[in-house]
């Protein structure tokens, strides 16, 4: 089938994940050019015969071959041009000197093209503004801060910064350096920008909440004990019961509110703890509801006892 080799070239580029440069397919290109030559010669022969012998039936095959020639040329030019675009992107990413493994995949003419491109880009950058020019391959990202924390990924030796101090860049050492000095080295892979730790704001609020929560739970337990131990059978103490019940409700509300916040805040606490707390609040609210009558108060003592146990275990898990 005609044009198969040409499509294979395109497919090869398409297969490689974007940006990377595969090796130059010299063989594939040669085969396509040979096919084009063969098609052209056949066409030449047919055209002269059609003219000489007046054979109009050869014209469709001439047209077909011409279309195949055009398609082959289009595929070849697309292959070469796409490679050029990838090489151009390498200049912007790696700088003037390409790593050896990338250069190995480039043909001699591509290396020449790259050298020429580098030169025109450099002369353009030098001519900006009329004085010493501006390096537009720097400053690729908007500046967020003046100094950044960087970690050294490989030994780079000594490095001088603006005020004259010399820093030794040893592997795994961390430094706090001016951003504009580090950009080039970050792109080459010598340094690595370390994001400041403590991105999890949620973990901070838990220790603060913990004493509050412990307080509240203790308060609840005390209230429940006051509520049920001595006054269980004394109906005249219903007034006191009501007061204690109100206090219990308020306490539960204060306990539930930060836990609601916890849930909306999302990923910060471990899931088990949140579920436990959730169960705790549910059980407490059930108890308060069931405290409305004395009989139910009696029956829910055991439940309350269970609640207190779970509260205690939750406390021990918190700490």
């Amino acid at each position: 089938m005609f044009c198969e080799k040409a499509i294979e070239l395109i497919r090869e580029l398409h297969r490689v994940s974007d940006g990377q440069l595969p090796a130059f397919n010299e063989d594939g290109l040669r085969q396509v050019l040979q096919e084009m030559e063969a098609l052209y010669e056949q066409n030449q022969a047919d055209v002269s015969e059609a003219k000489a012998a007046g054979r109009a039936d050869l014209i469709p095959s001439i047209k077909l071959r011409h279309c195949c020639l055009l398609r082959n040329r289009r595929c070849v030019v697309a292959y070469l041009y796409d490679r050029l675009l990838r090489i151009r992107a390498l200049r912007w990413e790696y700088g003037s000197v390409l790593p050896a493994n990338v250069r190995f995949h480039m043909s001699a003419e591509e290396v020449q093209w790259f050298g020429q491109y580098k030169k025109s880009l450099a002369s353009f950058m030098r001519s900006i503004g009329g004085q010493e020019g501006l390096d537009v391959t720097q400053d690729m990202k908007p500046p967020k801060s003046l100094y950044i924390q960087v970690r050294c990924l490989k030994d780079h030796g000594e490095f001088e910064i603006d005020d004259g101090t010399v820093i030794l860049l040893k592997k795994n050492s961390q430094h706090f350096l001016p951003r504009w000095k580090c950009e080039q080295l970050i792109r080459q892979g010598v340094l690595e920008h370390v994001m400041s730790a403590g991105g999890h704001g949620g973990s901070h609020h838990l220790p603060q909440q913990r004493p509050q929560r412990c307080d509240l739970v203790l308060q609840l337990v005390v209230l429940l004990l006051c509520l049920f131990l001595p006054q269980l059978c004394d109906l005249q103490r219903s007034q006191q019961l009501r007061i204690l019940k109100v206090q219990l409700l308020q306490c539960t509300a204060r306990l539930v509110a930060p836990l609601h916040l916890d849930r909306t805040r999302g990923q910060n606490g471990p899931v088990g703890r949140r579920q436990q707390n959730h169960r705790l609040t549910c059980s407490f609210s059930c108890c308060t509801l069931s405290c409305s009558t004395l009989r139910s108060a009696l029956s829910c003592t055991s439940r309350l006892a269970a609640c207190c146990c779970s509260a205690a275990s939750a406390l021990s898990n918190c700490s």
Partner: protein, 224 residues
């Protein structure tokens, strides 16, 4: 604006004596607007080389001032951040222009050639040189590697057809700075009819770039 810039206000007034006198704040605002317009428009816009030159001068002034400031002064940090930010905006502006030049190089050169006398040029002299070199470089490469080994009637490749054109029908967001009346919106499909809108000052719209292209170059709308 930072102190370092305001100290240099007098310098820039002397330099721009032929043009309108601009404060540094106005200059940076112009740069930012040119940057955003260039970023969001699908085709290459008019070059603003005078803005670029003035901003470069400002940057060198500010750097010189910073050298004079004594070490450990807290203000030096702020001035340096200001310099970094301005340099980023300028670099980003020039980069987006370069990318468009490289992407549409035959069309850009064609537009530059077909400009009428008196129209502002699309490319600065340096950009024009860069575009020509890029064209020549790519053409030589293609000829050397493939085209000269092809049959004689196929050796010429029309770059204008081979390289895709910028899509002027892509939609852009814009904010209106000066009130415009009777903007004709052409139909996109055969079923639609063309209609006319008025653009109020301060309003924001989403339109095809082709309709507002002349307004962007005159400064009546800005792309956001």
């Amino acid at each position: 604006m930072s102190d370092a810039l305001s100290e240099d206000g007098s310098d820039i007034n002397q330099d721009d004596s032929q043009e309108d006198i601009m404060t540094p704040a106005e200059l940076i605002a112009k740069l930012e607007q040119a940057w955003l317009n260039e970023k969001f428009s699908p085709e290459l816009l008019e070059n603003k080389s005078e803005v670029v030159e003035c901003v470069m001068e400002q940057l060198t002034h500010m750097e010189a001032n910073l050298q004079r400031v004594k070490k450990g002064d807290a203000k030096a940090g702020f001035h340096r951040m200001e310099i970094d930010r301005i340099r980023f905006v300028l670099s980003s502006y020039l980069r987006s222009r370069l990318q468009k030049i490289e992407k549409y190089f035959p069309h850009v050169l064609e537009r530059e050639k077909s400009l009428v006398e008196g129209q502002p040029s699309l490319l600065s002299p340096e950009e024009f040189a860069f575009a020509k070199e890029y064209y020549a470089n790519t053409e030589t490469y293609l000829k050397a590697v493939a085209l000269k080994r092809m049959p004689p009637n196929l050796q010429a490749v029309d770059m204008l057809k081979a390289v895709p054109e910028p899509c002027l029908d892509s939609f852009v967001f814009l904010r209106v700075k000066e009130r415009q009346e009777n903007i004709l919106i052409e139909p996109e499909t055969d079923e639609q009819r063309d209609f006319v809108v008025d653009l109020e000052e301060g309003s924001q719209h989403l339109m095809r770039y082709r309709i507002v292209a002349p307004l962007v170059s005159s400064g009546a709308v800005e792309l956001i």
